[in-house]
């Protein structure tokens, strides 16, 4: 990786829900074109970290900069910021009342102010990228889980984000559908998209991630290239975690 300025720069991030401290001082920099993989036991704060990065959760303190814009600053146009940050959810969250193309084009039309024709041509491009152009007119309930998640990825891509956050994108999928989503993510990675992925897909991490981050109890315990983290982690906690994952 070059030492270009990070796309995402998180410093000393703290987040509590009531008395429960979920993030206890997170520092994380993600460079352009980097794929950062976040693993860790459930409840370790992985999803909360991701959700703070587009302010679906409000952190208690710390700073988050996206392309050098302080997204926590008072008066920041959060809707403009969110356009630059794609987000893919565990449960897809497609709009059931709109077809695939409608899902992908809604923000293009209402946020970016594009005409229906412009939005639809961009929408078809995004759907083509995830291999689902022929499903443009299908409604979410007519699509498999894997197809729904790929439409959700297209919805994020259509806005041309500078970074895409994946929050356990395959954990709601039947095993035979996981591959189609991962191959779309791999294609994205190869096209140079900057990505942060929270997931338990260790094989994918091993082959696609630039860096793996292990989170435990609201902190980053260890980080490094996948070979190092998976084969020779410093912390016994990580070895233990990897064993339980592999047992499944």
């Amino acid at each position: 990786m070059s030492d270009s300025a990070p796309i995402l720069d998180v410093r000393a991030l703290y987040k509590s829900f009531g008395h429960l401290e979920v993030l206890k001082g997170i520092d994380l920099q993600v460079k352009p074109r980097e794929l950062v993989f976040v693993i860790g036991p459930s409840g370790s704060g992985k999803s909360t970290l991701l959700r703070c990065c587009n302010r679906l959760e409000e952190p208690n303190s710390g700073s988050i900069r996206i392309e050098d814009i302080d997204i926590l600053a008072p008066g920041v146009d959060i809707n403009a910021v969110r356009r630059r940050i794609g987000m893919v959810f565990q449960s897809f969250n497609l709009y059931p009342h709109l077809n695939a193309l409608g899902n992908v084009t809604l923000a293009l039309r209402k946020v970016e102010g594009k005409t229906r024709e412009e939005a639809e041509s961009l929408g078809i491009q995004a759907l083509t990228r995830v291999g689902l152009a022929e499903k443009a007119k299908s409604f979410p309930n007519e699509l498999s889980g894997g197809q729904q998640q790929r439409v959700a990825i297209a919805r994020a891509l259509a806005l041309e984000p500078v970074i895409v956050l994946f929050d356990e994108p395959t954990s709601a999928l039947d095993p035979e559908l996981v591959g189609s989503v991962l191959s779309v993510m791999r294609e994205l990675r190869e096209s140079g998209m900057t990505m942060v992925v929270v997931s338990h897909e260790m094989r994918f991490a091993q082959s696609a991630a630039d860096r793996v981050i292990f989170m435990d109890d609201g902190r980053i315990l260890e980080q490094g290239p996948p070979e190092q983290l998976f084969n020779a982690p410093d912390h016994p906690r990580i070895q233990e975690f990897l064993r339980t994952i592999q047992a499944h």
Binding site: N54, L56, N79, A80, R82, R83, I85, G86, M87, F89, S91, N93, L94, Y95, P96, H97, L106, A107, K110, V111, A152, R155, A156, L159
Partner: protein
């Protein structure tokens, strides 16, 4: 049997009463066309207010909804039509009906829309907001369309009640269908006009009832 037919299904009487019934029918249609959209729009506004964070607004809405659901619409109408003019607020008969129905039916429609909005999972809001849609746009393009679809049977069912309730407009001398029928009855000493009015209601509302049960069956099938 003959007596039954001559006092309830008398064609001669029907012929005489028909112009009155027709005029009443048009008035009922006019009332419905004003009162139902007003109530639906008011109800949507009430439901949207309940989604606001402010606790004061939430409380005010609860009071509003509780009050107008418990207060008899007939008394409300009479107060607005005959009481408010003493405060120099004279809305006229039609205006009084419109306001009374807005207050009464918006609280019912409001509760229906609220249930619909509450049925939409958080993930829908999050997905919309994560693509840069504002809170208002999220409501308008993502939440309300789905919420409305989820409560169509309740909206239809409530609308049926509202249409029948328009007959209370007769107390402020708006000659709607039932009022016209009762007038005709008292002039002819014959119940045929009332029966005819009933049949008109039945014929007009029956398609809605059919539609309603089709939606209800579809919802059961979906679940």
């Amino acid at each position: 049997m003959d007596l039954l037919i001559s006092s309830f299904f008398n064609l001669d009487i029907l012929e005489q009463a028909w112009p009155f019934l027709l005029a009443g029918f048009w008035m009922t249609i006019k009332l419905t066309l004003v009162v139902v959209p007003l109530g639906v729009a008011g109800g949507l506004a009430v439901a949207l207010l309940t989604t606001m964070r402010s606790r004061i607004v939430k409380w005010l809405v609860v009071i509003y909804v509780d009050f107008f659901r418990a207060f008899p619409p007939l008394v409300l109408l009479m107060f607005i039509a005959f009481g408010l003019p003493f405060l120099k607020i004279d809305l006229g008969a039609f205006g009084a009906v419109a306001v009374a129905f807005l207050l009464n039916t918006s609280s019912y429609y409001g509760e229906i829309f609220r249930a619909g909005i509450e049925s939409i999972p958080r993930g829908q809001y999050e997905a919309a907001r994560s693509t840069g849609l504002s809170a208002v746009q999220t409501m308008a393009y993502v939440v309300i369309p789905q919420a409305t679809k989820n409560v169509i049977p309740d909206l239809i069912s409530n609308t049926l009640e509202v249409v029948k309730l328009t007959s209370i407009a007769s107390v402020v001398a708006l000659p709607e269908l039932l009022f016209a029928a009762r007038q005709a009855q008292s002039v002819t000493y014959n119940a045929t006009p009332i029966i005819a009015a009933g049949i008109i209601y039945l014929v007009c509302l029956w398609p809605l009832v059919r539609l309603l049960s089709r939606f209800e069956h579809r919802q059961i099938a979906l679940h």
